[in-house]
């Protein structure tokens, strides 16, 4: 059978299980758009390529499958860059297809030629330029394999226009032939090390599990829960680790680090053993690294050798798929009550509850709790960046795997709305709620058109504080309340904008949001709720720059 490069590309994607692509066309990718419907893949036309990348990212985070986006050469491709970088930082399996000028014109500064492979080299796991149609199928397969295996990440496939148009018979296709991605092998050495970790864990008196984003990526949800239950081990999560495990019995001490809870940070500080699973000890997690968990022996399990000992010196580590390692670990962990440790944590928890030091999200946080109560359990929360993000991750109690999506690594404002589209399209039997600030909302506001056009039933909550709130809070504490360039305005009528895009909308005050929340949760299709928040509704506690995780500033949000 003879097919064009574009057909081979799409057929191969489809064989690999891809059913949706988010994108935006241009002359150099038209060969793909021309036959996309015939291949059974659905293309969703966004309104800006950045949104295509975030949507593919959200799709992948919500489903665990690879997300795919497409853009044309030149400006289309460069518009993807922020989305690719976001996916890279959070290890999302993603394929970014980019159009490219014909091979003969490469390097001639042709119209809409950019070296997208060069531009994205530091923010992709890998990239390919397909120079021969006979390599198309094998390249696509290899790209998906790379994007999804080991520590996942985005892969760019750059597609010259002539290669997409070229025809090729099945029997002419090359078989690829470069090394398969190495399977991460769990062998004797790994087992030996894991046994050592288990022994340290079993002997420890005040252990804490540190759960990172790697648990989600290796789908180790039940394995992790089993280990926690069997060993009675309290756990904390990094921002990316939120939504990896739900234990109703209070083992979850919450988020640690810069925006973490008082409880999580204090308990980690007191612990004598920390086992990190799929966490890289980023600066957001540890704050001042020298003062992080000073009493603890630190063990680490990660699939990515680069992440081991990268930021913190670990005492023992295993390179392994997390799921495999946790399955093994379960057999090695002894059942233990740890009554003293649990009692000590409970006392700390009571003290904190009495002082109210972990309730620092103010009315905005209360609002998020009310939204969650109103929504079915199978709801995914997608956050933007800023105060809204911290309110959401602190207030939304994640009860399902992949129940919270947040751009933790890059902190990309404008992520939430487009990512929610991808999440909702991918996780068809889930509801999706967005929490965003006004600043971030404006950054990809055009996607309301996409949401309206496809009638994607996402529920959007815009916390309108008229400010770049998180920046304002930093200025308040560390720049003597000089609020320079952080004031947006309250001149924009967000609900009218939503209505202009064909999306029903309401406006409420954070102190009295019930009516609006009921409408939001009750709506069949998309809905936008604008929640007016006081500009001094900050988030507490926070860790000042250059301070350790237990030197937090407390405060009260009015």
């Amino acid at each position: 059978m003879e097919r064009t490069g574009a057909e081979i590309l799409l057929n191969t994607l489809s064989e690999e299980g891809v059913s949706e692509i988010f994108g935006y066309p241009g002359a150099s990718t038209l060969a793909i758009h021309d036959c996309i419907n015939e291949t059974g893949i659905k293309h969703l036309l966004v309104r800006h390529e950045q949104a295509a990348a975030h949507a593919a990212d959200g799709y992948a985070r919500a489903t665990g499958k690879v997300g795919v986006c497409i853009a044309t050469s030149g400006p289309g491709a460069t518009n993807l860059v922020t989305g690719i970088a976001t996916a890279y930082m959070d290890s999302t399996p993603m394929i970014a297809l980019t159009g490219q000028v014909t091979t003969g014109l490469l390097g001639s500064d042709a119209f809409q030629e950019t070296d997208i492979i060069g531009i994205t080299m530091p923010i992709t796991k890998h990239s390919f330029l397909v120079q021969d149609v006979r390599d198309m199928a094998s390249t696509v397969r290899e790209a998906i394999n790379i994007a999804t295996s080991g520590r996942p990440g985005p892969v760019v496939i750059d597609l010259p226009r002539d290669v997409l148009a070229a025809r090729c018979n099945d029997d002419e296709e090359g078989g690829g032939g470069f090394l398969e991605q190495q399977e991460i092998h769990f062998g004797e050495e790994e087992l030996r090390r894991l046994k050592q970790i288990a022994r340290l864990l079993n002997e420890s008196e005040r252990p804490v599990l540190l759960v990172g984003g790697g648990v989600k990526l290796s789908q180790a949800f039940t394995e992790l829960a089993d280990v926690i239950q069997k060993g009675n081990i309290p756990f904390v999560t990094t921002m990316m680790g939120i939504g990896s495990v739900y234990t109703p019995n209070g083992f979850n001490l919450g988020l640690i680090g810069t925006h973490g809870t008082d409880l999580a940070n204090r308990i980690v500080h007191q612990s004598d053993f920390i086992l990190a699973v799929g966490a890289r000890f980023s600066d957001r997690t540890t704050s001042v690294i020298e003062e992080f968990a000073p009493l603890a022996t630190i063990a680490q399990i990660d699939v990515d050798p680069t992440s081991i000992g990268k930021n913190i010196k670990t005492d023992i580590s295993v390179v392994s798929d997390i799921r495999v390692a946790l399955q093994e670990l379960l057999g090695l962990v002894t059942e233990k009550k740890r009554e003293d440790w649990i009692a000590r944590i409970d006392r700390e928890r009571e003290r904190i509850a009495k002082e109210g030091s972990d309730d620092g999200c103010g009315p905005a946080g209360e609002c998020i709790r009310m939204v969650q109560e109103c929504m079915p359990e199978k709801t995914i929360a997608v956050t933007d960046v800023g105060l809204n993000q911290i309110w959401a991750i602190r207030s939304w109690k994640v009860k399902i795997p992949r129940g919270l999506i947040t751009p933790g690594g890059l902190g990309t404002m404008g992520f939430s709305v487009p990512a929610s589209m991808g999440a909702r399209i991918g996780a068809i039997d889930h509801e999706v709620v967005v929490f965003t600030g006004d600043g971030g909302f404006f950054m990809n506001i055009q996607e309301l058109a996409t949401i309206g056009f496809y009638n994607i039933p996402v529920k959007i909550v815009v916390f309108n504080n008229g400010n770049l709130g998180m920046i304002r809070q930093i200025q308040h504490h560390f720049y003597n309340s000089r609020y320079r360039d952080s004031r947006l305005s309250d001149l924009v009528d967000i609900t009218e904008i939503a209505k202009g895009f064909g999306i029903p909308s309401e406006k409420v005050a954070a102190e009295d949001p019930r009516k609006g929340i009921e409408k939001l949760c009750g709506s069949e299709g998309p809905f936008l709720l604008e929640v007016v928040v006081d500009e001094n509704n900050y988030v507490y506690p926070i860790i000042p720059p250059g301070k350790s995780n237990v030197e937090m500033i407390y405060g009260r949000s009015e």
Partner: protein, 163 residues
């Protein structure tokens, strides 16, 4: 970080395909790891190339660079070669014009250091020197006063000794 700068030889096996060197160089460049020499060529498998780099750096820094190199999809293996467990050689080509004045010293040097004359055009000759870095530099130091016009060095290639 303790600052005990020493010479590090990193030997990598990589897929032999376009763009791989750029990725490897990208890691060096992004981390600010300065390369003294770099050598790239095919191995016995045409699908695989060996890249040998030499740098002066802190061991901890080198460790970090090695980890990031390992992370590249096209990098098959990364090893650091130590002096006592590896063999290391480099080659230098030296261009020099022969005249009546330097002729006796030059021929003495050629026999003494075992250089090979690989090209002679009019009175311009190119000498080849192979050895470890010290050997090569000794020859260069000796010849420089005689009027060396140009040199090209490969930088080190190295293999682990005892397979």
């Amino acid at each position: 970080m303790k600052n005990e700068v020493k010479e590090h030889v990193i030997s990598m096996l990589v897929n032999n395909r376009p763009g791989v060197l750029a990725r490897v160089a990208g890691v060096f460049g992004r981390l600010g790891y300065n390369i003294e020499s770099l050598c790239v060529a095919e191995t016995i498998s045409p699908k695989v190339s060996r890249i040998t780099s030499v740098s002066k750096a802190d061991p901890a820094f080198t460790e970090k660079v090695k980890k990031q190199l390992n992370r590249l999809v096209d990098v098959i293996s990364v090893a650091e070669l130590e002096d006592d467990t590896s063999a290391k050689r480099e080659m230098m080509l030296i261009g020099i014009t022969i005249d009546e004045k330097n002729r006796p010293e030059l021929s003495r040097a050629i026999t003494m250091f075992g250089c090979t004359v690989i090209s002679m055009k009019d009175s311009y000759c190119i000498l080849q020197v192979v050895g470890n870095r010290g050997d090569v530099e000794t020859v260069l130091n000796f010849l420089t006063p005689l009027g060396v016009k140009d040199i090209a060095r490969t930088g080190a290639v190295a293999l682990e000794s005892g397979a």
